[in-house]
Each structure stands twice: as structure tokens, then as C-alpha cells.
Symmetry: C2
Subunit: 282 residues, 2 copies
């Protein structure tokens, strides 16, 4: 099996490292706008060649994994439409699915297979130098196969994901993915940025503990990527922000009314949900 990874950033680099270690494909190739990164990965023994061009790699690849920004993933497919080998499985790793799958469906050659994907793992630091094949261990992966995907190819992709360390592969429709991820991933990033940009930060920064540190970890954000993700998933993230604002206003009212009973109930419920989340291995 020959695999090409497009975009050797923190996700692409980690994918490449995990694949190199666990799958040992016949050939593992990569494409990146920065040739120095390719050189580094080659010298690290992660990829097998850096002397050919995209076309050569794609013509022999059985699987192409797009690890770029969402728009760039679609652009890559468009520009290379004639280069993919027949029956190649193309998958992406970007945090938005409806828009991508829709755009890809419009233009994809009928003999190619596209399966949307999204790892529930990453790092706040970006770039190949932060990549690490172990970041996927124990994590979940969402795939969004649709009626154009064959079950054999979905199985093949799932096998690869389990082999490189993912613990759980969840199949969702692209719209469900976008709705859920707005809550489980985008909202935490929005909150982290809101909290850390508060005017209270300057005065408070000498008195930070673990809860603040954990809560704001993902505020160290890739601003271009996340702007694209948030605007592409506008409807869902706006719903989640509004819903959180309502919930915060509710807590505000409870505290304002000194309603200790209601406050304890709410906190108790939260602690139970959080503890169950741990038991369920999430």
C-alpha cells in the first residue's frame, strides 16, 4: 500500500509518524508547501522520498490523507483531480465536514472515493516540529461516510485508524459531525479565548491555578485555521454560544438570588456527569 499525506503540520506529521511506525506501508510520501519540512521528515526517516512531484506520488497512491486547512483540502483535490490513481481512497482530517463533503461531491471523479474524517486529538502548537505519532493513542476519530462510500473502503480506513492508535471510530453524517463538534471542540476553544482576553486577566495573572490553566490551554490557537473553522460552521457554533450564554445567565440568576439549594443541585448534577464521563472512558 502506498500512502500520500498532504500537509506535514502537527496533524499530518503525527499521522505520518504513526503510520510509519504502525502500518509500514510500501511507500509513505508527503506533500507540503515548505520543502524544508519535507526534507526534515525525510531525514527523520518518516517519508520515503522527496525528489518527485505531487503527480508522481498521487498516481501510485492507494490512500491520500489531506491534513491541511479545510479550504486547502478541497483546493488540493480540485487541482489534482486528474492525478489520482483509480480507486484511491481520499480522506481529510479537518474540523468541518458538511461544507467539504458537499464541495468534494460536486467535483470528484466517479472512480475515486472520498471519506471525510476528523481526529479528536491535536496539539495547541502547530507545525511539523510539534508532531508526535503518539498523540492519537486512546483518542476518538470521527468519520463521515455517505452513500457514495463503499463499506470495504470505510473498513480499510477504520483499520488504519485503529492501527495508528485511535481507540474509537465514530461514524456520523457530515451535518451531525458539525453540530457535535461545535459543542465538543469549537465551544471550548471559543471559551478559552473569551476567558483569556478578559479585562480581568492582567490583574489576575499572578494568581493562576490548575483550573484556569487547563481551561485556557487551547486559547493558544492557530488563528487562521480556527477563523476558517468557526465561520464555516457558523450556524452550529452560534447555537452553542447562545446556549452557553443562556446557561451562564441561569447560573447568574441562581447566585444573585442566593438560591443555595438550586446552586447545589446544578453543581451536583455537573459533578455526576463529569465523573460518568471519566468512567465511560471519554
Amino acid at each position: 500500500m502506498n500512502i500520500t499525506i498532504v500537509g506535514l503540520g502537527v496533524i499530518g506529521g503525527s499521522m505520518a509518524k504513526a503510520i510509519r511506525e504502525n502500518i509500514r506501508p510500501e511507500n509513505l510520501w508527503a506533500v507540503d508547501v515548505d520543502f524544508n519540512i519535507l526534507k526534515e521528515a525525510y531525514e527523520d526517516g518518516i517519508i520515503d522520498d522527496i525528489n518527485s512531484d505531487v503527480k508522481i506520488y498521487l498516481e501510485s497512491s492507494d490512500m491520500v490523507i489531506l491534513c491541511t486547512y479545510p479550504k486547502a483540502a478541497v483546493d488540493f483535490i480540485v487541482s489534482n483531480m486528474d492525478n489520482f490513481k483509480r480507486n484511491t481512497i481520499i480522506t481529510d482530517t479537518s474540523g468541518i465536514k458538511s461544507k467539504i463533503v458537499e464541495e468534494v461531491r460536486k467535483i470528484l471523479r466517479q472512480d475515486l472515493e472520498f471519506i471525510g474524517g476528523h481526529p479528536m486529538a491535536g496539539k495547541e502548537s502547530s507545525g511539523y516540529k510539534y508532531s508526535d505519532g503518539r498523540i492519537f493513542r486512546g483518542a476518538s476519530y470521527i468519520i463521515t461516510p455517505d452513500e457514495y462510500c463503499s463499506s470495504e473502503n470505510v473498513l480499510l480506513l477504520k483499520e488504519l485508524l485503529f492501527k495508528i492508535g485511535f481507540m474509537k471510530v465514530v461514524e456520523l453524517t457530515p451535518p451531525s459531525h458539525d453540530k457535535i463538534v461545535a459543542y465538543t471542540s469549537q465551544l471550548p476553544h471559543v471559551i478559552a479565548c473569551a476567558v483569556i482576553s478578559s479585562k480581568s486577566f492582567e490583574e489576575g495573572k499572578e494568581c493562576i491555578g490548575g483550573s484556569f490553566r487547563d481551561m485556557t490551554r487551547v486559547a493558544d490557537i492557530n488563528c487562521q485555521l480556527w477563523s476558517e473553522l468557526l465561520i464555516d460552521n457558523k450556524e452550529n457554533i452560534l447555537t452553542e454560544i447562545s446556549s452557553l450564554v443562556d446557561d451562564l445567565k441561569n447560573i447568574h440568576a441562581i447566585i444573585e438570588n442566593n438560591d443555595r439549594y438550586k446552586l447545589e443541585e446544578l453543581l451536583k448534577r455537573s459533578s455526576i456527569i463529569r465523573r460518568e464521563m471519566n468512567y465511560e472512558g471519554n
Copy 2:
């Protein structure tokens, strides 16, 4: 030096363990409503005696560290006012300071010294069995000395805190403490509870990644303790919740208007602040 710790929960137990290991006082005693906990700590070699009553310990203690809920700390001082040795330093560890310091000042014997304190470290699990002397290592500690505190005693307390592993001791007035902690500690807890109680949780729980896990860690909350803290610090936490709601509404508007430029600016600013926070060792 003889030290008595009141309340062997996760903080009191961790204090006791850290003191036992790093200070080696002449005697380390503890008081707890649960005799079995005292027995456990005695068997662990952490405390020196379990056969005397509170009065005996207090009459010989140079320092008393209150590690109970806020109200219980004040109640303890009131009930034992006649038992403290002359010149004893009494300090507490609770997450609220104005109210406590004010109440203590009203009733404290003139020959005793009270210095408010609050470790910026803890655990979401409560109880002696989760205590660990190492949780303070590298953390910050806030103390709130006022005009009734002698500088020698403040220095003595600070020395002890550094010895048991704290990296930084910040001196604040009680009102400043309460204002700052509303932002750095209470707000993250409120957010974690709000996020995890969202109606989106049920659908999303299969697709959780590191950002969601970190953000909601402290939702596993001690509901009695935190209800007390939030209501005692009502004014400050309400200000912080309102301010966060405004900031979230601002982000909502930016996304709604597809204002990618403004969104990138906001996210970029957040990432810079968060990264600087790391450099500054917070």
C-alpha cells in the same frame, strides 16, 4: 514548633503530608470530625497523636492551619477562642477572604494572629484519601495579611509555604483576593459546570477530545463547598459571569457577521496572551 491542622480533607491532608516531609515540626497534630481519618493519618505516620482532644493540641500549637469550609473555619475559631496558646498564628486555606477576615477580626483575641491564606492548588476529588503532599509544588499561594498582622509572623508563614513547595506567595488585600479569585478560580468552575450541563452533552459525549476534557475537568466539583464559595463571593463572581457573557456575545456577533478579520485578530490576541502566560511561568 507545634502545628495543628484542622480538617484532614484533600487540602488539609496534603498540607499535613507536605509539612511532615519538609518541615519536620516537633509535633504535627490534626483535628477532624471523622476519627477514622485521623486514625488513618496516624497510621500513615503523618500526624503524631490521636489520643488527645482539640483543647490539648491548641494549647501547645504555635501554628493552626484551618483546612475546612469557610464558615466552619470561623466557627472553629469562635468555639476554641479560649484554647489557643498566646501568640499562635492562625491561618486558613479557604477560597474566600473578605468575609472570613472580617468575621475573625470581630472576635479574635488580641494576643492571637490571623493571616488569611488560599493555595492556588487542589484537586477535584475530595477527602484525605486523595491528599498528596506534592500538589503544592510549583503552585502559587495567596495570603491576605492586614494591619493586625506582624511582619515577622507573615514571614514565618511565607517560609513555611515555600518549604512545603509553593513557588510564589502573593500578598493581597482580602477584597483584591476575592475579586481576582472570582476570575482565576471561580469562573473556570462555573464555566465547566455550565458546559457539561449543556443539553448538547448527551449527543456529543462520544466525540470528546482533549480540549473538552481539560475545560470540564473541574466540573467534578464539591457542590456544598462551591455553593458556599460562590454565594459568599457573589458580587465578584456575578461581575465575572456578566463580563464573560458580554465577551461571548461579542464573539457571537463577529462570527455572525462573517468578520474574519476581527475574528483572527481576537484569536491571535488570545494565543499571544496564553503563550506569554506560559513563559511567565504561571
